[in-house]
Symmetry: C2
Subunit: 269 residues, 2 copies
DNA sequence: ACGAAAGTATCGTACAGCGATACTTGGTCC
DNA sequence: GGACCAAGTATCGCTGTACGATACTTTCGT
């Protein structure tokens, strides 16, 4: 089981808002830009790398990095080889999770679900064309990097994404499919629009969505959507297991009812 | 079991660096300041609240919030009642965890440890006078908010903190004790400097540290330190259980060797 | 010992961001 | 239901912040 790396896909491409909005403080955008440089990094970065990646001059990168460093959002690498994200980021992680009402509502139910299901249980939230994992309750045999908070996956080829699409209009579904950069993350990833629509329809009929090895080899996942009071899908809960232990049919028979029940509890407050 | 709330203690008080450093970009500091406002919030904030808390004018808050919103680091609350942190924060969480070598090294060992220990296992990292949880492998019966990534606790009164202090010089220990704002988080919290030093000494002798209900009622925790190659303590691993299921002695006898072994593996690469 | 690359410091100028103020919207109280 | 209050949005001229070019120092690798 090798997991996809990087933030390659999904992270909205510096969402091209900017222009000449008089309220927009570009120094802040630069700062976030610098922090986002690390999305595609697999090692500490030098000032010049940061400057180049962010399309800014060395001086600008210097000032931004300097400032972020003072504040604890960027640190020198342990071996003094370059810059890495700083620990202060985690404070904001906590704030985000605490103050997100869906996370707050869903979490106890998720913990409960994890008790009856000895597999990995996840909570993911939508951000544009992707899902971001906000809570992950690991099973025994997982590698850590496959279960990071903040990990994101595309909507079009994941169980959670399809569970959400099942609650959208056909137009919305089509728009997501169109705008997604559909890549074969694994050989099993479904990228054909027609086939995706079929899987969504299947999810509508079953009340849960299924994905087999579409993001991670050997992984089976089912999901159900979490809805706003008005019925709009906001995220999903996932149950994920290994195909070395389960076949698809028995996995679904065993866990789909539990996932459905959990989502039901969360959705009705 | 009620957990302490807020970021009340611990978060370095906007670490009074600033002055007239010519490289310091204050617009960035303002942005982070705004995001940090949420550390003490338990509900969505209005613009005026943000402005007031950050000691800046309404206009400034407006611009900063506007910009952060465009970028996805701040969102409107679901009910449009105020502002909350935005989901983009989680992307940086992932980067931090991925790029932190200690987290990377420790995680597989932690997962392994969790397998043999049916209690909660945590990895925490030092930031000044506090420890921040970077990875948390829950046990069955935990409440979600007690196990958030990004949660922080003081060094002086936690098992992890004492495990780290056990690897510092007496001077360093004293400095931490002195500079810490020592509050009785629970009735059992040890705040007396002399008593803390004794606990540190005890940890030095045992090779692990112990804390009983000092942060969370009913909780027992032991910890061992994680060290840099040079021997400086960088963080700790914790095993936490409930006093309704264990007495201190049997908890230590059972888990201290496992915690020690795990830390040993991590520390020798 | 040398050269290259990374990080740090300096400085005059222009325009980005400043803050005061005024306008719009929406919710609440009597 | 109308009046009020607070929240959010928009505008504008001035000033001081942040800009980028450049030069200096330090740390590597060979």
């Amino acid at each position: 089981m090798r997991y996809i790396q990087k933030g390659e896909y999904g992270v909205p491409p510096s969402t091209s808002i900017d222009e000449n909005d008089p309220l927009f403080v570009q120094a802040i955008a630069r700062a976030m830009q610098v922090l986002s440089t690390f999305h595609d990094a697999s090692k500490p970065l030098t000032l010049n790398e940061i400057a180049a990646a962010g399309g800014m001059g060395k001086s600008a990168a210097q000032r931004v990095v300097h400032t972020l460093r003072q504040l604890g959002y960027v640190q020198r690498d342990a071996d003094d080889r370059g810059y890495v994200p700083g620990i202060r980021i985690l404070d904001h992680t906590r704030d985000y999770l605490r103050l997100n009402p869906l996370v707050a509502r869903a979490s106890p139910v998720l913990m409960e679900l994890r008790r009856s299901v000895r597999e990995r249980v996840d909570l993911s939230l939508r951000d544009g064309l992707r899902l971001i994992y906000a809570a992950r309750l690991q099973s025994k045999r997982e590698t850590f990097f496959a279960t990071l908070v903040g990990q994101s996956v595309p909507i079009y080829c994941t169980s959670g994404g399809r569970a959400m699409m099942a609650h959208m209009s056909d137009d919305e579904v089509d728009e997501i499919i169109e705008r997604s950069e559909r890549r074969e993350i694994t050989p099993k990833t479904i990228t054909d629009p027609q086939a995706i629509r079929a899987k969504v329809q299947e999810a509508r009929e079953n009340g849960y969505a299924l994905a087999l090895e579409e993001v991670l080899q050997g992984e089976i996942a089912i999901a159900t959507a979490l809805l706003s009071p008005e019925g709009r899908p906001l995220g999903a809960i996932h149950i994920a297991g290994s195909l070395s232990e389960w076949d698809a049919e028995s996995f679904c028979r065993r866990f789909a009812p539990l996932a459905g029940e959990a989502a039901g509890v969360i959705n009705r407050f």
